[in-house]
Amino acid sequence: MSIDDRDFRPVIAAFCCNWCSYAGADLAGSSRMKYPAEVKIIRVPCSCRVNPMFILRTFEKGADGVILCGCHPGDCHYSTGNYYTRRRMASLISLMEFVGLERGRVRVEWVSAAEGAKFAETMNEFVEHIRALGKNTRLEDLRCKN
């Protein structure tokens, strides 16, 4: 990697479910697996806790990509939380793309507490993807610029 490539360091917010992905991140750490420091983890009690507004808000605060990690469908600590997340996020992602946000800036991934390796791999891949997309300027200028 040349120095030029390092110039852009995206800000990535990762919403992680307390019961699975957060522990998955922990496992990735204790297993000494590397994932980029650009990823800022926000712990939530359940992926269903993430209001679509949170995702918009993270973008407003300067995030270039947002990833939401939850338990695999069927494994929710609260039985059904992630089923609702799944429906909600499908609509939100679709709407965001519809108004012109690049594909892949918002992502949902199911990571269990035992999948430290998957967590690290997902984060590496996601950061690379966002790095390729560049800064998130579109949402910033969606209004009031002509």
Binding site: L56, Y83, A90, F98, V99, R103
Partner: protein, 320 residues
């Protein structure tokens, strides 16, 4: 129209209802406004014509808290909103008396202006053609040319709920309501962005779309601050400005009956219904067809789930 007034007067006189919700004539021939009438005398100002596009169901939330029944005149499309509000327990069905009124599509003065008809003094609606008396003489145009966008994509002229129906309806559907959405989906992401940036930049944040939307009825809206009176409406952060339309559309996802009021009232002419329709189109495709407000018992797709729903990545806003 006379028939509606007579019936309303009769129901007021025999005490079945305490007030009437309808449209009142204003200074201009093209601007009837929603109004409550409490006596037979006031009803003389009642009007129902081709400009009565306003959806009255939202006002019934307010009147559900009052004593006695309210008589409301609802067009076929308004009954969907009414059902949706009953489902959400915002309207007390027992406190309403619904008279379904016939509808053959509603027209808008903006469309007449676009057609070059200005200085309107009076509008005479005779079947398929519209004769407009203006300051510059008499002009005419086909009725459907002056119709609201939503009437071209009408859901049907059957009243979903009504205690009685007065008047005839005529079918006005002549386009696929998802045509524009599909067209946008086929554009590249960049083109779509350019389209929405141009449209949304026109917004002056008057909040009319929020205020008129029947399902936007939270006591305390996320867009309102804690300040007093009109200052409350000022946006607290820049964030609100940018995301207003995404948030607004998402807040009514699964509840939007596609009544098209948001686009009708927009003073800047932003096609706001496109965002709502995109969500409806997606939910139809992912979870099976669902029409909010069709009845008072079905469950919205976003408040339900199955174990084998599609994954969020499947949600596509269109081409890349």
């Amino acid at each position: 129209m006379q028939e509606l007034i007579e019936r309303a007067k009769a129901l007021l006189a025999d005490g079945t209802v305490s007030r009437v919700l309808g449209w009142r004539a204003t200074d201009t021939p093209f601007g009837p406004e929603p109004a409550f009438f409490e006596s037979g005398e006031e009803l003389n100002e009642f009007v129902y014509n081709c400009f009565c596009g306003a959806n009255l169901s939202k006002y019934l939330i307010e009147s559900s808290a009052l004593e006695g029944k309210t008589l409301a005149f609802l067009k076929p499309c308004d009954t969907y909103s009414f059902n949706q509000l009953c489902k959400e327990h915002r309207i007390d069905r027992g406190k309403t008396y619904i008279i379904g009124v016939g509808c053959k599509g509603k027209i808008t003065v903006e469309r007449l202006h676009e057609l070059g008809i200005k200085g309107i003094l009076d509008v005479e609606d005779a079947g398929d053609t519209l004769t407009v008396k203006t300051l510059y003489g008499e002009k005419s145009c086909p009725y459907s040319d002056a119709m609201l966008e939503r009437c071209h994509a009408c859901k049907g002229k059957e009243h979903r709920v009504a205690d009685e129906v007065i008047g005839e309806s005529a079918d006005t559907t002549d386009t696929d309501r998802f045509a524009k959405v599909t067209e946008l989906e086929q554009m590249t992401s960049k083109e779509r962005y350019a389209f929405f940036q141009a449209e949304l930049s026109k917004c002056i944040r008057c909040n009319a779309c929020r205020n008129v939307c029947p399902v936007c009825n939270c006591r305390k809206c996320v867009f309102d601050g804690n300040a007093f009176d009109s200052v409350q409406k000022a946006n607290a952060t820049e964030f609100e400005e940018k995301m207003f339309h995404i948030i607004r559309a998402f807040h009514v996802a699964g509840r939007c009956t596609d009544c098209g009021e948001c686009s009708r009232v927009c003073p800047q002419g932003i096609p706001l219904h496109l965002l709502n329709r995109k969500l409806i189109k997606d939910m139809d495709a992912f979870y099976g067809e669902y029409q909010a407000g069709e009845d008072t018992s079905t469950v919205s797709p976003l408040t339900a789930y199955t174990e084998h729903d599609i994954e969020p990545e499947a949600g596509k806003g269109g081409n890349e």
